[in-house]
C-alpha cells in the first residue's frame, strides 16, 4: 500500500513489541537483539527470523529504513545522528498510566499504517481490565526485580498495582537513585505480597541470585511471594493488563488467609 512504511527499524525493545504486533511481518526490516530473548521479551516468537541490530548508527543506515522507532532513553547517539542527517526517528515516550499506554499503541499503529489494529489492541486491553475483580482488601504489594529494583510511585508499574486494587509499598521505603531498595527494608516493609520474577532458572547473575536470598525464600514459604514474569512489566503494551489480572488474582488468593 503506498505511503505505508515498508522498511521499519526498531531501536528499542518496547518499540519491537508494538511493531511486531501491529505491523505486517514484511514491513519490519529489523528489531533489537533483545526482542528474541524470551526472558525479557513478550514477542520472542514473532521475532524469530527477523534481522536484529544492536542499535548502532551504521547498522541502521545500511538497512535503508523508511521508519525508525526509538525509545526515549536508549541508543541516544544513533537517534542524534539520524536527526542530524534529516531523518528523525519516531521517539516513544515512557507512559506513566493506562491512558499513556493506549496513546502509545495508537501512535505506533498509525505510524506503521494499521490504525485499526491499534484500536483493536486498545479494546482488548480495556476488555481485560474490565474483567479484573479487585481484591476486597487493599493489600500491600512490593515488586522486586533483579538487583532489588522496585516499581517507583508515579510509574506505569505503580498504576498497574493500583488498578489491581493494591497499595505499592515502595512509596514507603527508601530507594536509591536507581530505584533499588535495600533487601532488609524490603523485608521489614511487611508487604502482603512480594512480586518476583516467575522463578525461571535462567543463567546465573548476582542480580538474580539476590531474589533467591534466604530471607525471600522464607517469605516465599509464608506464601507471600507472587511470581509474575518480568517481561510482562517491562513495556507498555496490551500485556500490562495481564499483570493487573494476575496481581488481583494473587491478592484474592491471599486475602482469606489473612483474615480467618
Amino acid at each position: 500500500m503506498p505511503g505505508w512504511p515498508s522498511r521499519i527499524v526498531s531501536l528499542n525493545l518496547c518499540a519491537d513489541e508494538l511493531v511486531l504486533r501491529l505491523a505486517d511481518r514484511g514491513q519490519v526490516a529489523a528489531v533489537t537483539y533483545l526482542a528474541g530473548d524470551p526472558r525479557g521479551s513478550t514477542v520472542a516468537a514473532q521475532a524469530a527470523g527477523v534481522p536484529v541490530t544492536r542499535g548502532l548508527a551504521e547498522e541502521i543506515v545500511a538497512l535503508k529504513p523508511d521508519l525508525v522507532i526509538a525509545g526515549a532513553f536508549t541508543t541516544r547517539t544513533t537517534v542524534g545522528l539520524l536527526k542530524r542527517i534529516g531523518f528523525p526517528p519516531l521517539e516513544l515516550g515512557v507512559p506513566a498510566n493506562f491512558d499513556g499506554v493506549r496513546a502509545q499503541i495508537r501512535q505506533v499503529a498509525a505510524a506503521v499504517g494499521h490504525p485499526e489494529r491499534g484500536e483493536a489492541m486498545v479494546a482488548e486491553l480495556d476488555a481485560t481490565l474490565a474483567r479484573v475483580v479487585p481484591a476486597s482488601r487493599r493489600l500491600r504489594v512490593l515488586v522486586l526485580r533483579p538487583n532489588a529494583f522496585t516499581v517507583s510511585p508515579g510509574s506505569l508499574g505503580d498504576a498497574i498495582i493500583r488498578a489491581a486494587g493494591l497499595v505499592n509499598v515502595a512509596a514507603e521505603i527508601g530507594r536509591d537513585r536507581t530505584g533499588s531498595v535495600p533487601l532488609e527494608a524490603a523485608a521489614l516493609a511487611d508487604a502482603d505480597l512480594v512480586v518476583v520474577d516467575a522463578g525461571e532458572t535462567g543463567t546465573p547473575s548476582l542480580a538474580d541470585a539476590l531474589l533467591h536470598h534466604p530471607i525471600l525464600e522464607r517469605l516465599r514459604a509464608q506464601g507471600r511471594t507472587v511470581p509474575i514474569p518480568n517481561r510482562l512489566w517491562t513495556c507498555p503494551g496490551p500485556q500490562v493488563a495481564e499483570v493487573v489480572v494476575r496481581l488481583a488474582a494473587a491478592a484474592r488468593a491471599r486475602t482469606p488467609m489473612k483474615t480467618p
Binding site: 535495600p182 516493609a189 532458572t201 543463567t203
Partner: protein, 342 residues
C-alpha cells in the same frame, strides 16, 4: 643473677601482645554488634533477638538472622583472612609490601569465582563457588612463590602482582561480558571492589570451614616465619621443613582469600596495611603479628562496612573503595620510605 633482665625479655612482648589480642577481640565483638545494629531500616534488636530465641520467624527475626548477622560475621571472617594472609605473606617473603591484593591473589580468586559462578557451576554444586575462588588464589599464590624462590626482589614481586592483577581483572571483565545473563556485565564492580551487602548465612557457612582450615595452616607457620627472618638455611637448620611451610602458606592463603573473595569480592589493601599497624605494638617478629593482624583486619573491614552504610551515598559504596582510599596512600608512603632506606 639475670633475673631482672630476663624478666624484661620474658614478659613484656608476650604480655603486651596478649593484651593487644584481647583488646582487638573485644573491639571486633563491639564492631560486630554495631554492624548488626546499623542498617537501612529500623529494627528493634532486642525484640528481633527475642523472637528468634523463641523460635518465631517474624520479619525482624529473619532480618536479624538472615541479613544483619551474616553481613557482620562475613565482615569479621573476610577481614581476619585478609589481615592474617597479609601478615603471613609479608613474613614469608620477607617483604613489607606483600599483600593478597597487591600480589594479584585476590583478583585471581575473583576470576576463579566469576568463571565458576557465571559458568553455572555454582548452581549444580554450591561448594563450587568458593572452590573456584580458591583455585584462582592458589594459582596466583604459587606463581608468587615461584617468583620469590627465583630471588625476585620487592619491586619485581610488586610489578608481577600488578601484571597479574591487570590480567585477572581483564579476564574477569571478559568472562562477565561473555556471560549469557544480561546483568553479568554490570557486576564486575562487586568482584573487583568487594561488598558485603545482602549476603546470607549460606555464604557464611560456605566459606567458614574453608577459611578456618586456611587460618590453621597459616597460623601453624608462626615459628617458621620467625626463623625465616634469618634466611632459609638458618630456618632449615632450626628444624623447619621449608617445603611443608611453603605448602601450608600457599594452601592456607588460597583457602582463606579464595573463599572470602568468592562470597564478598576482592577487598584490597587490608592485608597490606594491617601488619604495619600491628608491628609498632608487638615488635617486628613475624610470628607475633599473625593473630593481631587477623583481628585488626576484621576490625578494619567491619569498620569500612559500617562507613559504607553510614555514608549517605546510595547505592552504597563498594568496600574496596573505602579500603583503597585508606590503603593506597599508605602503599605510596611505604614505597617512598623504602626508596629512602635503600
Amino acid at each position: 643473677m639475670n633475673a631482672p633482665m630476663s624478666f624484661v625479655t620474658r614478659t613484656t612482648p608476650q604480655a603486651s601482645s596478649r593484651r593487644l589480642v584481647a583488646g582487638l577481640v573485644l573491639l571486633t565483638a563491639i564492631l560486630i554488634v554495631a554492624s548488626v545494629a546499623v542498617g537501612y531500616a529500623a529494627l528493634d534488636l532486642p525484640a528481633a533477638l527475642g523472637d528468634w530465641l523463641a523460635g518465631r520467624s517474624t520479619l525482624p527475626a529473619l532480618v536479624l538472622m538472615e541479613l544483619r548477622l551474616p553481613r557482620a560475621l562475613l565482615g569479621a571472617l573476610v577481614g581476619f583472612s585478609l589481615g592474617l594472609t597479609g601478615a603471613v605473606m609479608q613474613g614469608y617473603l620477607r617483604n613489607p609490601l606483600a599483600d593478597p591484593g597487591i600480589l594479584g591473589i585476590s583478583s585471581a580468586a575473583a576470576l576463579g569465582a566469576v568463571v565458576v559462578f557465571y559458568g553455572g557451576l555454582a548452581g549444580s554444586l554450591t561448594l563450587a563457588l568458593p572452590l573456584g575462588g580458591i583455585a584462582g588464589a592458589a594459582l596466583a599464590a604459587l606463581g608468587v612463590n615461584l617468583l620469590a624462590a627465583r630471588g625476585t626482589g620487592t619491586l619485581g614481586l610488586i610489578l608481577a602482582g600488578v601484571g597479574l592483577s591487570s590480567l585477572a581483572g581483564a579476564l574477569t571483565a571478559l568472562a562477565l561480558n561473555l556471560a549469557p545473563n544480561p546483568y553479568a556485565a554490570l557486576e564486575i564492580v562487586f568482584w573487583l571492589m568487594g561488598s558485603l551487602a545482602d549476603r546470607s548465612m549460606d555464604h557464611v557457612w560456605l566459606c567458614l570451614p574453608l577459611m578456618i582450615l586456611g587460618w590453621i595452616l597459616m597460623l601453624s607457620t608462626a615459628r617458621a616465619l620467625d626463623a625465616l627472618a634469618l634466611g632459609e638455611d638458618t630456618a632449615a637448620s632450626l628444624g623447619f621443613d621449608l617445603v611443608s611451610v611453603r605448602i601450608r602458606i600457599v594452601t592456607g592463603a588460597a583457602l582463606a582469600v579464595g573463599s572470602g573473595v568468592a562470597v564478598s569480592g576482592a577487598i584490597g589493601f587490608v592485608g597490606l596495611v594491617v601488619p604495619h599497624l600491628v608491628r609498632p605494638l608487638v615488635g617486628a617478629r613475624p610470628g607475633a603479628s599473625l593473630w593481631p593482624s587477623g583481628l585488626l583486619g576484621a576490625v578494619l573491614v567491619l569498620g569500612a562496612d559500617l562507613v559504607v552504610r553510614l555514608l549517605p551515598t546510595r547505592p552504597e559504596l563498594k568496600l574496596g573503595v573505602v579500603t583503597a582510599l585508606v590503603g593506597a596512600p599508605f602503599l605510596i608512603a611505604l614505597l617512598f620510605r623504602q626508596g629512602r632506606g635503600r
